[in-house]
Amino acid sequence: MSVANAGFPLLTVTAALPAAGAIATAALPAAKRGAAKWVALVVSVATLVLSLVVLARFDPGGPRYQLTESHAWIADFGVRYELGVDGIGAVLIALTALLLPFIIAAAWHDADELEPARPNRRWRPTQGFFALMLATEAMVIISFAATDVFLFYVFFEAMLIPMYFLIGGFGDRAHAAGEEEAAKQRSYAAVKFLLYNLVGGLIMLAAVIGLFVVTSDQLGEGTFSLQKITEARADGGFQLDTNIERLLFLGFFFAFAVKAPLWPLHTWLPNAMGESTAPVAVLITAVVDKVGTFAMLRFCLGLFPEASKWATPVVLVLALVSILYGALLAVGQRDIKRLIAYASISHFGFIILGVFAMTSQGQSGATLYMVFHGVSTAALMLVAGFLISRRGSRLIADYGGVQKVAPVLAGTFLVGGLATLSLPGLAPFISEFLVLVGTFSRYPVAGIVATAGIVLAALYVLLMYQRTMTGPVTRPEVRAMPDLRVREMAVAVPLVALLVFLGVFPKPLTDIVNPAVEHTMSDVQKKDPEPDHQVAETGWFDYKPAEHAGGDHK
């Protein structure tokens, strides 16, 4: 650990490890595809270990950005290679690194079908598949760690490349209308994903350039450094014209809203998640999309606080629409994966609601929501993927009575579903409740409307469970269905355990996230609303510490 203090580039190494792993995996010869899987898995686990070191090294009480690295990159444009994490970034890096091993393990056989009959030196799908996953991981980690806007932008966009191939090249082959239609849908989904995100990204690029122009106008030299800009603003040396700030904010926000995705820019997600395999779908919604909401918190609020406040009403309305709209559409879906996709849209609505509620509960809740939604969706989606792989169909109507033949599968699916509907005791409840409380304390009406979302969540989850898992077993394909295998258990059980653990004891995470949220709150110069009748801390509050101390020594 002393190395880290001596300027050991921990973040770079954390990101570089999967990148190197990707290259190594891709370089393996065709015959070694088993080895490729293991290399990918081992690398992702090693990355997880590194990310835990990051988490451990991170001192919640310390400065805002820690483990910082800074090197000149493109001097002429003031672009620097600047990394650093606050609590939010550290937690999200950990989430990314945490999910990847599960995704890889769940996707163990997904590329096998594509393998050519005879080993071929050029066409090595397995190697490519896992290399693309690791590459995505590397880029996501850099995005979470980048404190230079341009550096962030580069990786924010570059992420699209591996994702495009993962969706279009390694998509789900289970399609009701046959292989040909599946291929068509797959490429449609991949192109749609790419175009949506590219449009968002290009608009953001304009804003990034705009940022350079205004910083060079006001600071003498253009810079993309988040820290520098924040400091300059605190000094009063950097003040944006209202209209320019709003335009730049919109440029950034648009890109993040596409990525997040926020209604009405959401339609790429159901296609992308529906047509890709379950592990890739998890990669999209649980990892890659988080960059969008994370960036709202870090860049939109951090760089353009005034404009963020200006845009809040509209964003809140869009978030509310996302919540209800996503949930209602999830109710109406006939395809398991699309249902989960729409549920995710609803959940992203909650995250954005929390971010823009501009209360500590809302933002802490939003950050936790990103993490917990990642874990819960991974649990639900991966188990759904196991289910689909058994039957070769994504349609809910093709199942029924699975609980009787595969109780463990049904059980984990149910827990994933319950997490999705935010059952107390499971992690997502905490984040959702925080978001709702945070929103309610500033915008009561929005809070109440969003609360309707939790009823709808129960509806779509339980409908799906009822239709797939319960009832009599009528289909021979279902009757012959095996329960979870060892590899699948190894994926599903730890995720479920994690959901329970974090639902009961989220304090380690809140301790890391809270200070970062305080910083963001001070960025936007907002304070939590005071209660109307603050209760003097009497009663159990006085009584507690002594009690607590006594309890500890027991």
Binding site: P264, T267, Y325, L328, L329, V331, G332, Q333, S360, Q361, S364, G401, Q403, K404, L423, P424, G425, F429, I430, F433, L434, L436, V437, F440, P444, G447, T451, I454, V455, A458, L459, L462, Q466, M469, T470, G471, P472, V504, F505, K507, T510, D511, N514, V517, E518, D528, P529, P531, D532, H533, Q534, V535, T538, G539, W540, F541, K544, E547, G551, K554
Partner: protein, 629 residues
Amino acid sequence: MESLIGLLVGFPLLGAAVLLCGGAKLDRSGHWLGVLFSGASFVTGVVLFAGMLGRPTDERALHQHLFSWVPVESFQADVAFQLDQLAMTFVLLITGVGTLIHIYSVGYMEHDVGRRRFFGYLNLFLAAMLLLVLADNYLLLYVGWEGVGLASYLLIGFWQFKPSAAVAAKKAFLVNRVGDAGLAIAIFLMFTTFGTFTFAPVLENATDAGEGMLTAIGLMLLLAACGKSAQVPLQSWLGDAMEGPTPVSALIHAATMVTAGVYLITRSGAIFNGAPDAQTAVVVVGAVTLIFGAIVGCAKDDIKKALAGSTMSQIGYMVLAAGLGPIGYAFAIMHLVTHGFFKAGLFLGAGSVMHGMNDEVDMRKYGGLRKYMPVTFVTFGLGYLAIIGFPGLSGFFSKDQIIEAAFAKGGTQGLILGAVTLIGAAITAYYMTRVMLMTFFGEERWRGQENEPHPHESPKVMTVPMIVLAFGSVFAGGLFKAGESFVHWLEPVTQFEHGHSPFSAAVVTGMTVVALLIGVAGAWLQYGRRPVPSVAPRGSLLTRAARRDLLQDDFNHVALVKPGEYLTRGLVYADNKVVDGAVNGTAAAFGGLSGRTRRVQNGFVRSYAVSMFGGAAVLVAATLLMRAV
């Protein structure tokens, strides 16, 4: 002593974890393990109770802080327990009745392949329910609140292969979720008003908040209570919930979980005391449900659904009493406890009957069973006498108190409420007598059916809990009433005021007895003197409506389900066509536009020449303009 509180929840939680994750190894012994954990919790409860009795009244409450759960700035949620007299009452009821029902289930579920899972769920339920009543803040209560909802969901849908059970389970969860949303909003309101949602500070300072805010909080809490306690308008799930195994109906949907709403209202007494409008709402809900449930109970031929209607009605009594304020809280809880005994007893009796009748639930196919299952007959009969309020038995004392308190509300309101409770008592007597007569008396209508059942008494493991509960049904009321011991026991928590009834206690008791005699007589005239047709007659309009749960499901279907379906279908269509269509349309528009503009490049030199000359003309024009300017 405090540290034991955690064990109350811990035992059943551990039991649930062990049983659900234990795998097939525990299939043979799992049920006894479940009983063990439940019993351990009960024993802990008794020990704590003994300890509590040993302390002076104002030091009886205990508090245990386990750990800080969700700390975010001013939002400080802790996992902490508070064991006061109210909670203690519930703990004993839950663990006591719970343990009995565990034991009963050992026999009832003997041949079910999923027995281990069943006991796991039951343990999970106990843990959640204990968490609900032991929580020292509303958020933790919310956890228990939804936890029991989950357990209820799992247990109603325990026989998942029956589509009806799966649907009923989902329905129960969803309707409860609506109520849960109310509880969530109540917590938001508390947090924004008081900056905390821990019981003590909120309740102690409730009066600071002003009546408007308290009314809002109160109404939201009422919504939550309506969901959990199956009160109008969120009552529709309870009847369907009878799809679950009978012990579940007895424990969750009669004795404990459904009374959580009453607990919530009583616990939040300070809030309701400051909000008369909310109290009125509570009383109205209670009164309406009281009659509603009773009417439904009269029309059902399914023994469990008839009892479910009765449960709704009885909880209506409790809610009504809780809505009366300090004059009623103690009686609400008292009725809750006695109801817990006799209704659990009745359900277990019903289960025992079904057990001997090939799981037949239609009372029209029973008849004359008293000869075949005497123990069941006696215990069921005692429960019956208790619920109709036969003088001297539990139900008599508790119900009589509520009717008295209703009159004591004073004024026209008091008279109306008193009348409603009396009518309710009469109808209760009517439908319970009906159940009794149809099941245990009259012709043996089950003879001659295909697959003729062979009625027999249930095994000891089932009858013993029934006997214990029957004792409770008989004596609990008298015990509580003696020297007003129950009221005094709860007074530190719920406060107590003596109401001033316009009628003396004796008059009220007299009216009650008359009401019950009318009810019994009516039922005897209809079902005792005449043979009961084994196929239900068409019946009057009211009867038919009552058989359809007074059209509650039809109303929900028309008002919520259908519009919801149309909405989602419309949105799915709109998402494809409008939202996605807008984007695809934009793409197509660009495609079309470039297809058009492409034609400008037609390859003809002369066309290009035209544009060249046009350009030249524009340049000249521009030059001239610039000169002019």
